[in-house]
Symmetry: C2
Subunit: 306 residues, 2 copies
Amino acid sequence: MLRNQGSVSESARGKILEAAADLNYVPNRIAGTLASMSSKLIGIVVPSVGNTVVPEVLAGVNAVLEAAGFQPVIGVSNYDALREEALIESILSWRPSGILVAGLEHTDRARAMLKGCGVRVVELLDVDGEGIDIVVGSSQRMAGRKSAEHLLAHNYRHIGYVGHDIRVDIRAGKRLEGFRAVLHENGLNFVDQEFHPSMASSVEAGRVGLARLLKRQSGLDAIYFSNDDLALGGYFHCLEHDISVPRDLALFGYNGLEITRLTPQPLSTIRTPRIAMGKVGANLLLSGGPSTIVDVGFELVVGATT
Amino acid sequence: MLRNQGSVSESARGKILEAAADLNYVPNRIAGTLASMSSKLIGIVVPSVGNTVVPEVLAGVNAVLEAAGFQPVIGVSNYDALREEALIESILSWRPSGILVAGLEHTDRARAMLKGCGVRVVELLDVDGEGIDIVVGSSQRMAGRKSAEHLLAHNYRHIGYVGHDIRVDIRAGKRLEGFRAVLHENGLNFVDQEFHPSMASSVEAGRVGLARLLKRQSGLDAIYFSNDDLALGGYFHCLEHDISVPRDLALFGYNGLEITRLTPQPLSTIRTPRIAMGKVGANLLLSGGPSTIVDVGFELVVGATT
DNA sequence: AGGGAAAATGGTAGCGCTGTCATTTTGTCT
DNA sequence: AGACAAAATGACAGCGCTACCATTTTCCCT
């Protein structure tokens, strides 16, 4: 009885809206969705909300969705593919008009559901791999390569790696792969690697990981971290133990978090356009265009730690 | 035709589920919700996803919701009361089984809608004020008071404040109020205050804010920051400019973010049990008990910066 | 084997809207 | 004023389920 379009006179409309406001009546969108067979819900499945990366992407997504009157339904998979599958199924049961997921790696069933559900799918953050429908991200492998090239160009040759569990964080694994490929191409390899199993505070993982690595190995001149959280932890370790950065040790991260340019020495890292990525993804989702792959690229930020 | 409870034989059930899996059929929960008049959606309205505070609370909430088969529908208000009102209305139109909002301050219409919508309401983060139904948080004013008492007990007397816009962040304003009250009770006042209008990076606000304050005032011996992000920024400023902490200047924050105990010197701050807060809130929401106020308290963390 | 309770199955109204079509009212032009 | 188009209103089926009741089948005990 309370629809905007078509056939309601303006005069009547005003009165009804007024009455509705008085009674604080809220229309039932569940019924509306069922009747119109098209919902104003958009599903979103992300791996975590640990650091600010995902929230920033979501901010971009949300800005677009909200402007278009859509409501996000969110699930957090904790980097667990089976959990992701379950979340996708659960979210799909709300018959969203579209769904955004992080990354390109999913279980077979999850892919099947996403392909067969009849709504647009956006995969965010990564472009290295086979997408389902729309893909918006930047190349993780290329980011790793560029990082390595940067360090080599600055004559670092004794490079260590400090990361978290790359079986869990597939994108970090791809970066590592790209980095290592460049090392190999130059007849080099990581001097040593430290994988921290933690999923909790990555800053802590970086701190602890670097401490362990330095205890094992001397002669390292640069560390590649799986991301800025870890790099930040490593930087804090250096500050506390009077390791001069970058003279004694260079540090390189990934993400380009805001905080990395506010530390006493800004960290060298790779900045990804996260908010833009979210906006582009959401816009493509709503636009109804063809399947596409958008590489939003990244920017190598030369800080003071290399 | 595909419901769990009641009257379907086990044998038949298996076959149907198998067929459903093959066709990757996903039940339509929209229809189910409409028919049963009870949804498995929970609304959540938060002011931002800037730092990790809100995501941590959400993680706690989400853990409970997911275990109970509920799906969160999220809105982000950007600290804007009118936007919050609109989001509440929008979310309510999905007929959630409950709704969680941040803080106790809302527009009159928002309060009216929350009171009249017929579902349980949880207000999170703060307990200083009049709640609608269930309130789970900790006293902001008391946190401010304890912070001031701590600094005074350590003989700091020339205290400055660096914060962001407290008209926007009401809880930060309450902490400031509590802090100032203790100063007054001891015949003191802030030497100077710096309010940074930024809503972007709070770390930057802290850095810039402290720099400005120190430019105006000499003789300050301690700074109270509106939260840890700001305090972190201030700490970075000190590190860069060789201001010895806490000898030259003591720093105190709020939140107890993980990162504050990983900096070269752990920051003094007040830690709030955010994940627990989220869990408690979600549990109370689902439990169906009476209206309550739960003060989850906080812990004053004496770091190395006071 | 017969009787009664329990379990399984089948059938159907209706949740609160939307889309559509039939009908009525209003407006406009000659 | 009459004729016609346009706008407004009214009426109603149906979206895909769930809740509920009626019926049928199965099971168990005497």
